[in-house]
């Protein structure tokens, strides 16, 4: 089952990326949903940039940043002694940047959709900010978290350009499924390309069915 190794790598990358993005994206989305700071618009714009930039532009800057001479890359090299570019760790960072809007935006709109009277009620009933967040905000933004996770995950599974530029094509390190398919097509191995592509289609379809199924169920009255 050697040809399946890109699939496992892809799932691993998407899972880790999603977890990291939920952890980092939640406070960012909460801040964006509540702030009246003048920084809100610039931060929102930066968050949304990966949506509009071609993956090659993103990949190019990330490659420079993560490379042995880049700010992040050289620091990483001095700490761990390894290169960030063309490594799995570098791929995780790149994927997090690439999929950031797909996690932050659903979370932000979920937070913004919560009736502020509920949050104020919780506060006047004695809850501190973090308490309010855990007991009122989180339970009421379940659908937002589901959407954010699924979109973040699926978007990472489907990425190609950024991975190609930052990760290259190193087997079981950076050779994710989209790269593998491209590679097989290039070398005329259509049979394997077919199999991998079909797996990706079926997988994506199942994930989306799950997403919409749960969403529709949750929308029905309690």
């Amino acid at each position: 089952m050697e040809f399946l190794s890109p699939l496992w790598l892809t799932l691993k990358l998407a899972t880790i990326t999603t977890l990291v993005l939920i952890l980092l994206g939640t406070p960012l989305a909460w801040w964006l949903a509540n702030t009246r700071s003048v920084l809100k618009a610039p931060v929102e714009a930066i968050t949304a940039l990966p949506l509009v930039l071609p993956p090659t532009v993103l990949g190019f800057y990330l490659l420079i940043l993560l490379g042995p001479h880049g700010a992040v890359g050289s620091w990483w090299a001095s700490v761990s002694g390894e290169s960030l570019s063309f490594s799995f760790a570098g791929l995780v960072i790149a994927s997090c940047v690439y999929s950031l809007p797909f996690v932050v935006q659903p979370l932000q709109s979920a937070f913004e959709g919560i009736n502020t009277a509920l949050i104020k009620s919780a506060q006047t009933l004695g809850a501190r900010m973090l308490d309010t967040f855990y007991t009122v905000v989180l339970p009421l933004s379940g659908r937002g978290f589901l959407t954010a996770s699924v979109l973040g995950f699926a978007h990472t599974v489907g990425e190609f350009g950024v991975v190609l530029m930052v990760g290259g094509n190193i087997s079981s390190e950076t050779r994710v499924i989209s790269i593998a398919i491209y590679d097989h097509v290039e070398t005329m191995e259509y049979a394997i390309a077919h199999q991998l592509s079909l797996i990706l289609v079926v997988f994506s379809f199942l994930v989306l069915i799950l997403l919409y199924g749960v969403r529709n169920q949750r929308r029905s009255p309690i």
Partner: protein
């Protein structure tokens, strides 16, 4: 004493309030929609970060910008019931009630006011049937009862009610009103009640604070405020007094209840009422007028408003009871009426109304 000296800017105007409000009874904050009433409540609760100034309640300073004091909402012994109830939709009624109890309610043991227990609140607001329901399954009136019960369980030393009846239809309002009256009668917690509905204010308030465009135009006990020129005519015309009374007998051929009250025996048009039942008797100002005859009573005038559309509101003291009478100036023995003069008045019994006292719960064992 609740001392307020606050200011803050809203889009349309600036709110500027400097007043002392009583720390007993119900203070109605009355004014047109959007005049800044709710913002005052937010300031008191500590939810308004733009609010500048000084707030103290019973000598406890909650905010003093001069000294850099600003207690966070969770540090203030205050509870606020929002207009739509703002129940947590993901929690059951029981969990909603416990939310404040577990946080604020458990911290404030040394509260000077009597603190209600969970079971007491459930009984007081008749919630036992709803206790495991989700807020989505409740009617507007039920949700509002849960919301007020929830704020009481936070054991506040000041209760803020933001138009608790506004979203409700007539019938639901009538259903909640007795609960609010009970709150008034049985608890020693000062309440600030925001409303723009005349009837609610007359029935519930002890103290009236009138607001207009972010400014306080009048703050006085209701009995005094009703005679003030600054009080809107709508409020003055609906002046009324409520007394407790007991049914002596019901005459079912004439549909009259004979009741005993501090004003003596009265005959009130009414549907069937049990003999011996305690009822609430409402005497509207329309029903009290100067007059002579066998059923006239001697009253002493304790206040008189200036005329508006040819009519004045007069405050009478009759045997220890304060009554309001709305009469044309022409019917008065003199105008302006001097305080302290004695005059004969008649109470038009056909205009009085009986209501059950503190219904639907009159089985409180206290």
């Amino acid at each position: 004493m609740i001392r307020l000296n606050i200011s803050f800017a809203r889009q349309a105007f600036k709110i500027n309030i400097a007043t002392d409000l009583p720390s007993r009874g119900v203070t109605a904050l009355f004014g047109a929609s959007g005049c800044g009433k709710s913002s005052i409540l937010s300031c008191l609760a500590g939810l308004e970060s733009g609010c500048r100034g000084f707030i103290s309640v019973n000598d406890e300073v909650w905010q003093d910008d001069a000294q850099g004091i600003f207690l966070k909402p969770y540090q203030r012994p205050v509870a606020l019931a929002f207009q739509d109830g703002a129940l947590f939709p993901h929690l059951s009624v029981r969990e909603n009630l416990q939310y404040g109890l577990q946080r604020k309610g458990s911290q404030r043991k040394g509260n000077q006011c009597r603190s209600l227990g969970f079971d007491e609140v459930v009984e007081m607001f008749d919630l036992s049937r709803l206790i495991d329901s989700r807020p989505a399954a409740l009617s507007g009136g039920e949700a509002q009862r849960v919301a007020i019960g929830r704020t009481l369980l936070a054991h506040p030393s000041l209760l803020l009610l933001d138009e608790p009846l506004s979203g409700l239809d007539f019938q639901r309002k009538a259903e909640i009103m007795p609960f609010l009256e009970r709150l008034h009668q049985e608890l020693d917690i000062p309440v600030i009640y925001v409303s723009h509905v005349v009837g609610e204010v007359i029935r519930l308030a002890d103290h009236l604070a009138l607001m207009r465009q972010g400014e306080l135009t009048l703050s006085a006990p209701l009995h005094q405020a009703l005679l003030d020129d600054r009080t809107p005519g709508g409020l003055r015309n609906r002046a009324a007094v409520s007394l407790s009374c007991q049914v002596i007998q019901y005459d079912d051929t004439r549909c009259l209840a004979r009741v005993d009250s501090t004003l003596g025996v009265l005959h009130i048009p009414s549907g069937f009422v049990e003999s011996g039942a305690r009822m609430r008797l409402t005497i509207p100002a329309d029903a009290v007028a100067p007059g002579t005859g066998s059923d006239a009573r001697t009253a002493s005038v304790s206040g008189c408003s200036s005329q508006r559309k040819g009519r004045v509101l007069v405050r009478y003291e009759v045997g220890g009871v304060t009554l309001f009478g709305l009469s044309p100036v022409a019917d008065l023995p003199q105008y302006p009426l001097q305080d302290g003069i004695e005059t004969d008045i008649r109470i038009n019994e056909s205009m009085l109304a009986l209501a059950t006292e503190s219904s639907p719960l009159n089985h409180q064992s206290r």
